[in-house]
Every structure is written in C-alpha cells, then in structure tokens.
Amino acid sequence: MKIKLIKCCSLLLMLFSPYVYAEDWQAELITEPGSGHLLLIDLPAELDIQTLTRLSVELDGIDITAAMGYEEGDFTYTPLQALPPGLHTLKLVVLNADGSAVEKQQWQFETGQEALAASDGSAEPSAAQLDAAESWLRSGRFDSNNSVEISQGLADHNINTSTRRFIMSGAGTSSGQLNGEDWQINARSNYFLQSEQDLSLTGNSLDIGEYQISARRDADWGKTNIRLGDQSMGLNSALLSPYQRRGASLHVEDVNERISTRAFAFRPDAVIGADHFTGLSEPDSRIEGFAASVKPFSSDAYALKLTSVYYDGKGSPTGFGISSNDVSAEGSGWALALDKGFFDGKLTVSGEYARASYDGDGDIGELEQEKSEAYTFLMESYPFESLMWGDLPVDLMFGLRYERIDTFFASLANPGLAADRDVTSAYSHLYWDRFSANLHLSHETNNVDDLEGLPTDRLRHANWSGTYAFDQQQGGWSWLGSPYLQLSGFVAKLDRRETPDNYLGVDTDNASKSTTIGGGANYQRGYLNTAYTLSEFEDHAQVSSDTLSRFISAGGGWRPNDRVSVNADIQYGVFETRLIADKAYTTNMNMGLQTILIPNKLDLGVNYNLNLAGGDNDSPDRHLMNAELGWTYITASRNNPGVAFALRGALERYHGNSGSTFYEDNYQVFAIVRITAPFGAGY
C-alpha cells in the first residue's frame, strides 16, 4: 500500500499528452480499480492538455492533487493509510487562470470494515453502494467510541482524599451524519461518567461535556447553516471574541458569497454539561446579535466588503475553565468593518470601528454604563507574487497596524480585551528555504481618553525571532540528524510621556529585555531540543522590584522500535527579586517510558516526575512515580467491544530539606477492568 507520489512524472506525462480539446466532458470514479489503488478517476481520452493541467482533486476537503498518480491518462490514488470507515467525498475541480475554482464533478463512496479490507484487495464494494454514491442519494453514518473503567483500590498509604475504593470512570464521543441531495445534518457530543463527584465534570455522575448539532443546505442560490450547541462565531472583531460558547446560530450566504448574514444567540459564560442545554433558556444570561457582510460591487475575492456586527445581552463572562473577578454585566455594541484587496491581493487593507456599551455590574450595582469606542486599521502586503530566490519560494510579508481602544472600552462578548491602548505597530515576516525570521516594532501609549488627572505612559517595544533548519547531516555529522537553531528576544522601554500638573503619583520608568537561544535536532526515531532564556526587568521608578530570570530547558524523545518510546525533559530556573534579595530555584524533571511487551496483549507505561524548589522558595523535594501494566484480553474493533485489565499505581515522596522537616511517603494501587466499545454504522 505504498503511495505513488509521482507528481513530477504526472506533470511531464500531462505535458506530453496529445492535445485534445473538449468543452463538456465527464469523468468516472472507479473504486478499487486494482493495481493496489483505492481510487481511479477515469478521464476522457480526448481531454485537452490545458484542462488537464488545471485539474485538482480533493478528498474530504483535503487537496490530494500532489499525491495523485497519473497512469494511462487517468488519475489514481492510493492513500498511505486506509481511510477511516464511513462516507467520503471526492471532488474533481478545475482551477481557472483567474484563481477561481470550479467544481467539475463530485462523488461519494463509503469505506467500512469491508471496504478497508477491500483496499488490501480482499473484497469488492457492492454495486448498491456505488450506485448510491454516484447518484448522490441519501446516506448517513454513525460513529461512537466509548470507554468505561471499573477501578478497585487494592492498597494505599497516607492518601488524604476521601475517594472510595470502588470507582467507575469513563467517557465517550459520538457523532452522526445524514446526507440528502443538497443538505447535510451533523451531530457530535462527548460525555463523561464519573462515580466520584469531585472528579466529575459538572457534579453529575453522567453528563455530556460539549455538543453541536448542525444542519446545512447547499441550494442553487446559496448556503444555509444552522447550528445549535457549543460553537465559535470565529469573527475577527473588537466586539466579539472567537471563543466557543453555547447557543444557536443561523448563517445564510448567497452562492457568490457576496451577501452573508449570521444571526446568533449564546450564553456569555462558558458552560458544559446538560444543564443550560440550548444556552438560550435564561434571558439574563444571553447575548443576541447578528453579523452581515456584503460585497456591493463584485464577488471577487479582493473586492470591497462591508461587514456590520451588532449584539446586545447580559450575563457573566466567566464559567468553566475561566478564572477572573468579572461579575454579571450588561452590554451591547455594534461595529462596522471594511476590507479591500489591491493589486490582485498583494495589498490588503481593512479597518473596523466598534462602539460598545458596558455596565460592569448590570442592574444591581452602582456602576454606570460606559460607552466607548475602538478603531482598528490594518494593512498587509505580500509585495511579490511567486517570489523565488535560487529557485526556492519566498514568503515575504510586511504589515502595519493601528489600534486605538478607549481607556474604559469593554465588550461583554470579548472579555479580557486589553483596553486603553493607542498602538502603532509594524511587522515583517520572511521565510526562504530553511530560514524564517520575524520582526515586530510597536509604539504604544495609554490614557487614550486623555483624562486630565491621568499621566500618559509610552511603551516602545521591539521583538524578533529567527529559525534556521539545516539539511540532514551526513557522514561524520550524521549524529546531528536534521538540526535547527532558534534565536528570539525583545527589548521594551516603558516611560512617562506626559505628567499632569501637580501630579505626585508614582513615576513610570522601566525596561525589559529577554533573549532566548535554542536549538534541536530531529531524527528518524527521535528528537532533541534545548533552550536558554535570560529575562531582565529593571524598574528605575522603584514601583516594583527589579527581577532577573534565567531559565534553561532540554527535552527529547526516542522511539528505538515500534514497541518502545522514551521521553524526558528537564527545566531549571533561577528567579531573583533584587529589591528583597530573594533568589528562588526551580527544577522540574519528567521521564516517561511506554512499551508494548506483547503486541495487542501486554503493555507497560512508567512515568517519573521530580519537583525541586530551593533558595528563598525552599520546600520539600517531591518525587512522583506512576505506572500502569495493562493486559488486553479482547482487542476492541468497530462494533466489537474490547476488554482489558490493568494494574495502576502511584508512589509519591516528599523529602524534607534545610527549609522543612516534612517527610512523607504515600502510595496507591488500583486494579482496573476497562471496557472499550467503538461502534459505527453507515448506509
């Protein structure tokens, strides 16, 4: 099943093929055509060379053109790995000279257990399956992967928690898809089982984590997409964060993508579990709004586009996985954005104006509603099209960004946004051959609202990074594998730009700098990396202490064969707080071994972790070793649950030192029965 990546050969064959022009042609998909291939696209013999060189093939959204073979006038494809069971979509696309892509044909085919075997040449797909796929009839699939662990504590010592000895724990994911002629419905969810309430996701023994149900229709006039559940708007706006929240959205777009509208309603806080299932049930914890885009003059990719966003709502922008002091708030906002590309996309320009209203304590507190504004202007340029240096492509980009966010700007739908910033930044990125470099310069001031009693500070900041990857070393240097070097750093200076009259508050005058030197090497069966960072902070205004941080890290992994994997990493840091002459040392080390003693039967995993904190931050040394020995009794496969047994344990040791006399050992051992149940079906 080796892939035939004969792209160059294919191109040559195409170029020397007979020149035949055909206006309207049809290709045919043949699955399991023999010769070890999974797919063959039978192209008409009379196809002209101009069309042939513009063809691209996409499998499940992935452009596989470069991995296609060209044999006897047809495209062939054999994946490196058998395709996962289920329905797959193959598209044949014509790329036009103007950069547009036109779908020529589309097929669906299914792989299952039988189909997977068929890719090894042991079975044939049924005629009914092929008919269904080729005629684009209704189809569907369902996949589910589940695992339950039943644990019994065998021994323990000095374990303080009140965990019961008998514990059930498990989780799973399920997804399904239904296809019609021009519609598709998808659903997916994960779920957790946990008999210990403290360990459970939501306090319930069995609960879902996150889910999404979506329905999509591709009609002649455009696309419609409805989503319910946990989702991200993904919008770039000062008003809306691209975070994931629970709610509902409706997205409608015309076929030329000139008009696009999205209506949404979601909770401002992050929730998991079945409670608040829709995310829409509580009016006091809901954000509602819409986003609309229009290209008034052209559907061209770089045509002028206007985007508007509006929302209104109330609630707390906190929730699961979020730590903050935010309380329930109320807010609304609107934004208007423009985007335009020039010179065939070599220059793109965009700008946004956003206006937000925010009441930090909602109806109940004494805070008044703040109205504030934010402006963003961005200009990016790839000045050279298909730039080549020494026959190698170059990625060279320049950017200029201006951002002005009011002193008290806050958006309920974009918590954590850094406000009170007037920033101008210029940046550049270069990639060529094995070298990449980034440079970023910025000038930033605060007191954007120009408040009378507030001083204005200024930050000047420059940061850079560069990487060079060497060729794979040969001969006497082969031990270096494929090495690379990395260098990055920054300097920043923060000082007072304007001081109000009679101001006797603290001054601002500090400087930061940091340098990181690193490198590593990749090998066929391993990797190494290391880095050293020196960071210095000097506060000449004595608001806070000067600090010096030195930090070195190294890591690596080694896979000597397919049944053994070893990894290790170590970090050592020194942190000095000069004002109080405090020096803290931190050492952290991890080592891991994973091995399959008997394939599909017996495996062993061991991990060792060491934490040392010394100096003025002295605390007892801590060693933690954990291990699991697993025996697979029945190997799980699709629709055939598997059973495994395991012994799992951990040994933890606190070792007192000069700063502490705390000594303690504790351990625990569990016996585990594990049931794994992957299910799947399709039609």
Partner: protein, 380 residues
C-alpha cells in the same frame, strides 16, 4: 441588700459612661490624624484596592484623677473628596479604644483596605491631579480631627505584573475533551494582564494513576515568560503536548504565582480512550516556520515546516475553531517542505473568520510521525 448592690452597680456604670461621654470639655484632645502612606497611586480601569493606616495622636487632658482613662476613638466613614466636594463614601466605620494616664500622649493606629470602583476611578482620572483626597474624621468622644491622603490616578503599570483573567481551553476552544490514545492534544491559556514583568506559571497535570485517589498532580512544564504592556495586555500560552499515552481521566491546570491579586486556578478535564495497540505511535513535535500566528490567508501564503526524517508525506490541515476534524487542507509528498493552498481549498474558508492550522508528517504506513501545535490564522 441585693437590690441596693444592683442599684449601686448601675450607678457606677452610669457614672463611667457619663465620664466617657460627658466628662466635661477639653478632657481629651486629638492632636493629629495622619495617613500612611500619605499618597497612593491607583490603576484606573478596574476595581482597585489599597491599604491605608490611620495614625491618631491624642493627649489625655482629664485631670480629675491619675487615670487610666479609656476613650473610644472612631470614624464612621471615609470620603472620597475631589475638588473639595465629597463624591463618594469609600470606607466603613473604624474604631478602637485608647487608654491613657492623665496628661499622657500616645498614638493609635487603625488600618483598613479601601476599594475604589471603576466609576470612582474614572472621576479620579477626570479630575485635576492633586485634587483628590480620601478623608477620615476621627473622634475620641471629646474632640475630633481629620486626616487625609492624596489619591492619584495611574496607569495599570502603577503596580506589579498582575494576571487579571485566565481563560483555559483546549486548542480547538473546547473545554472538555475525549481523545484516542496518542492523539495530539494541546491546551491554551489566554491570559489578560496588567503592567509588565516576568510571568511565573506552571502547567500542572493529574494523571489517571492519581486522578482516582490522591489527585496528586505533577508539574508538566514551568513557564517563565516576559510580558510587557503600557498598562493592559493579553497573551496566549500554549501548553506542551499533553500526555495521551494512557487511558483514563486527566486533570489539567494552569497556575500563576503572583503577589497581590489572587486568582483561582482553572482546571480542565480530558479522558483518553485506549483502543489496544500493536505499536506505539506517539508523534514527535514538529516545528513550523510560516505563516506567522494570526496571519491573513491568501493564495500566496506559504505554509512551511521542518523536515522529519522518515516522512513520506506532509499534510497541512485547516480547522474551524472548535472542530476536531479538518475543514480543508493539502497533502504533499515529503520532498516538499512548503505549500500554498489552492483556490479549491481556500473556497472552504469563510471571510473574516479565524481558523487554526497544523501540519502532520506521515510515515510509510500513514502513521503520524510528527505533528505541530495548532496555530491561528484568519481570513480577510
């Protein structure tokens, strides 16, 4: 007898109380009230608190006896005064007792934490510098005197580096994950901070071997990262590749060490499902060179990465935020270490939307030899 004792006790109490309240004029004097520190600079933008100690110096002038005399020193509230007008009450009642012999002078100290809300801070910032004071009037039941401290508005850098908010999620924006063994998994801590300095953080992990019992975590990685801002800033810290080699429940946390404002440690959970393995496929990390984080995608954007020995092909994948399956991507032979997306792939992407990308190195049998962390890109 019992009644007369009760009456005489009551009389003594009344006399003592009267002595405290009506012990004649000029029997005790408050000489001065001073605040320490004499001035504070408070960052504007969010609720700010600071500690102030009031030192009340008084002399006991009651000469009716040698003493000691017990006086109640109290202040009902603190006022925020701007341009001579009281604009808000910012502190509650403070009181203590002062016991002095006749003619003695001493100082009592009362300490409080004063909190100014954003509205008050805004008034402060809008007023001329030097015009704002916090004023307290203390009384020792005989005389009263006031003290004050000056309050100045400052940028958020008028304090140490302070983490204000941590938003912890997996790289696909989910907050709960169920993954298969050896599946690539990363987490991201989105951190909002004030001021500048070195962030001292730790990625902590509780493995399945301890999640059922002691729940003892281990430090997966120590983080030391310099953060700078002119007042407020925001950064994203990506975790190391999370362990997914053993089945069971894992708890992941990101903890920061800081003085002053304390913030709780957010915790995520993920569960690894084991499918029974015939070989170990634990992908190594893969370095990427281009595009930069957050770059705007176009047909000219180059995706590039480091070479992986033994790779037969590389696959660049683009993900919608929150999705585990790639939306689109491109597969190229191992002879190529960079690619651009064709119009066919770009057609999958919505305008003005954020996505994530990663690259996988595929081995001879399609196994994932190495995988990069997901990085953000966006469309115009």
């Amino acid at each position: 007898m019992f009644v007369s004792l009760r009456l005489s006790g009551l009389a003594i109490s009344l006399v003592l109380l009267a002595g405290l309240i009506f012990s004649g004029h000029a029997l005790a004097d408050i000489n001065s009230v001073t605040a320490s520190p004499a001035s504070v600079t408070v960052p504007v933008g969010q609720t700010s608190s600071f500690v102030v100690s009031w030192r009340v110096n008084r002399t006991e002038t009651d000469s009716t006896g040698p003493g000691p005399f017990t006086r109640l020193v109290n202040s009902p509230s603190a006022a925020l005064v701007i341009n001579g007008s009281t604009v808000a009450t910012v502190g509650g009642s403070l009181s203590t007792t002062s016991i002095l012999l006749s003619g003695a002078t001493s100082t009592v100290t009362l300490t409080e934490s004063v909190t100014l809300n954003p509205a008050q801070l805004r008034m402060l910032a809008e007023s001329p510098a030097g015009s704002a004071r916090i004023v307290r009037t203390f009384s020792d039941t005989q005389t009263s005197a006031s003290g004050s401290l000056s309050v100045y508005a400052g940028g958020n850098n008028a304090q140490d580096l302070t983490v204000r908010r941590i938003d912890l999620s997996f790289q696909n924006a989910a907050r709960s994950e169920v993954v298969e063994a050896n599946e690539s998994l990363f987490a991201v801590a989105d951190i909002a901070f004030s001021s500048s300095g070195v962030l001292r953080g730790e990625w902590r992990l509780v493995d399945p071997s301890t999640s059922l019992g002691s729940q003892s975590g281990r430090i997966l990685q120590v983080v030391r990262q310099s953060l700078v801002s002119a007042g407020q800033g925001r950064t994203r810290i990506t975790s190391p590749k999370l362990p997914t080699d053993r089945s069971g429940l894992y708890l992941l946390a990101f903890a920061v060490e800081q003085d002053g404002v304390q913030i709780e440690i957010p915790v995520l959970r993920y569960f690894v499902i084991d499918g029974g393995q015939t070989e170990i496929v634990d992908p190594f990390p893969l370095n990427t060179f281009s595009p930069t984080d957050g770059a705007t995608l176009s047909a000219q954007t180059l995706f590039s990465w480091g070479r992986v020995d033994g790779a037969m092909a590389y696959q660049v994948e683009i993900f919608e935020t929150g999705e585990k399956a790639p939306l689109t991507g491109k597969l190229v032979p191992a002879s190529l270490l960079q690619l651009s997306l064709s119009a066919m792939s770009l057609d999958w992407l919505q305008d003005n939307t954020r996505y994530q990308w990663q690259v996988k190195a595929l081995g001879e049998r399609g196994e994932v030899l190495a995988i990069s962390a997901k990085k953000p890109v966006s469309t115009q």
